[in-house]
């Protein structure tokens, strides 16, 4: 039995799920608490959640511009060298008659990154400013962002596969271009932004500080 007095908080471990009871006095001390079962850090909120989320969001928004403006791939054949942007690749699929794939790539490469940035910005913005607004819907929005986020890696994989496969020297080849690095950066940074945001902030009552 512990000797302390005062209120306790119940914390769930994000990794193994075990529920621990922690004296609120212990949470205020600058000590890193660990889950007694698996050793994962336990904290009532992910540390510096909003600051980190905003930082990743700003970085991914900045990278989003070169990711779309610069070519992500160039192809070479006997007669010409041509560069392809993300939008250009989608247009090629569409004109080739692969409408289904064109829509999938459009959603994965254009819609998902924009939706992620906008949704996470909305979530991070509403936590301090509109804490009670549509909580269940915001919670669901976060779960959707978390689930679909990694699909934007699609175009990165496509270029990697094409670079490996179309490799006939001067007759025909495909090469990655700098835009791809920016695009991969957007994907990784938005996944990190989603991981930094703590959905528990949505449910926090305004009187608690976060």
């Amino acid at each position: 039995m512990t000797a302390h007095t005062g209120p306790n908080a119940l914390l769930g471990c994000e990794c193994c799920g075990v529920v621990t009871s922690v004296a609120e006095a212990a949470l205020e001390r600058p000590v890193r608490l660990r889950c007694p079962r698996c050793g994962h850090p336990v904290h009532p909120r992910r540390p510096m959640s909003l600051q980190r989320t905003w930082a990743y969001l700003v970085a991914s928004t900045l990278l989003y511009v070169p990711a779309n403006a610069l070519p992500i791939m160039s192809t070479v054949n006997l007669f010409e060298r041509s560069s392809h942007t993300i939008i250009g690749g989608i247009a090629e699929l569409w004109t080739d008659g692969a409408y289904g794939l064109a829509v999938i790539v459009f959603v994965a490469s254009i819609v998902v990154p924009l939706l992620k940035i906008a949704a996470l910005a909305l979530l991070a913005w509403t936590v301090p400013r509109a804490p009670a607004w549509r909580r269940r819907e915001r919670a669901r929005l976060y779960r959707v962002v978390e689930t679909v986020g990694h699909w934007s890696m699609l175009d990165v994989y496509v270029v990697v596969l094409l670079a490996g496969m179309v490799n006939f020297g001067r007759i025909a080849s495909a090469e990655p271009e700098p835009g791809l690095l920016a695009f991969a950066g957007v994907v990784v940074l938005t996944v990190l932004a989603a991981r930094s945001f703590d959905p528990r902030l949505i449910w926090q009552e305004p009187k608690h500080d976060g």
């Binding site: 075990v18 660990r34 994962h40 094409l162 690095l181």
Partner: protein, 241 residues
């Protein structure tokens, strides 16, 4: 699979109640951190409680039937699923995933013919080619998310599950579970399968392309990984004790 692994809310005990019974660490079987690593005010509670990791609401577990899904009463996030997979079927699925993963890596994803030349590429070849063409960072990201992360997920699951099935607790169990938790979001094999389809169509302008065994292997791997993901890993903690 222990019934206690599955849960359903039976009432919303709100958080921040300190009323629940306290247990010492040793009540869970002895592999807990020593109390010197945590202040004395940190106490593990009985395993019939579950805190929603999305909103902090506290619920009480109860056994779930195989098709039931427990959702949080406050934010509707999934708290747990009742699943029909026994430990043996999970091992079988994981072994299947291992073989399919090796096939996906070692066989050609796409075969291309240009005139009389025919080339075939596996995913590791494509990653190496990308690296050599001056995009090492992109090549690394692709290798980590499509090769390393799924590989570690599969091997680690086997490392943890096989001893558990025979009643042993593998060494470094806690560390393994934490790695599994951290790495699961970085495995993106299902995206790779769609990427292979897209690349075949994109390549049609340059050369004749046909899908290889590797592409179908990635499709099968995506399904197997999804099934394993749904089955979850948290109940390993309960299976262990």
């Amino acid at each position: 699979m222990a019934a206690a692994a599955n849960a359903r809310l039976t009432g919303a005990l709100r958080s921040r109640s300190g009323a629940a019974e306290r247990l010492s660490y040793s009540a869970f079987g002895g592999t807990f951190l020593s109390s010197s690593e945590n202040p004395p005010e940190v106490t593990a509670l009985p395993q019939d409680l579950v805190v929603c990791e999305h909103c902090d609401a506290v619920h009480r577990w109860r056994a779930l039937a195989s098709d039931e899904v427990a959702r949080c009463s406050r934010c509707a996030a999934v708290l747990g699923r009742g699943h029909a997979l026994s430990a043996q079927s999970t091992i079988a699925l994981t072994l299947a995933a291992l073989f399919v993963f090796l096939i996906a890596l070692l066989t050609r994803v796409v075969t291309i013919r240009l005139g009389s030349t025919e080339t075939a590429t596996t995913l590791p070849d494509a990653v190496v080619a990308t690296w050599q063409m001056g995009a090492p960072i992109v090549a690394t990201v692709a290798a980590l998310t499509a090769i390393v992360a799924p590989g570690v997920l599969i091997v680690l699951r086997l490392y943890l599950l096989l001893p558990l099935a025979t009643g042993h607790v593998p060494r470094h169990f806690g560390t393994g579970m934490r790695v599994l938790h951290e790495i699961s979001r970085w495995s993106m094999v299902e995206v790779m399968m769609v990427a292979a389809m897209v690349s075949i169509v994109r390549m049609a302008a340059l050369a004749d392309a046909a899908p290889g065994v590797g592409m179908f292997a990635f499709g099968a791997l995506a399904l197997l990984m999804a099934a394993l993901e749904t089955a979850g890993v948290r109940h390993y903690w309960v299976d262990r004790s």
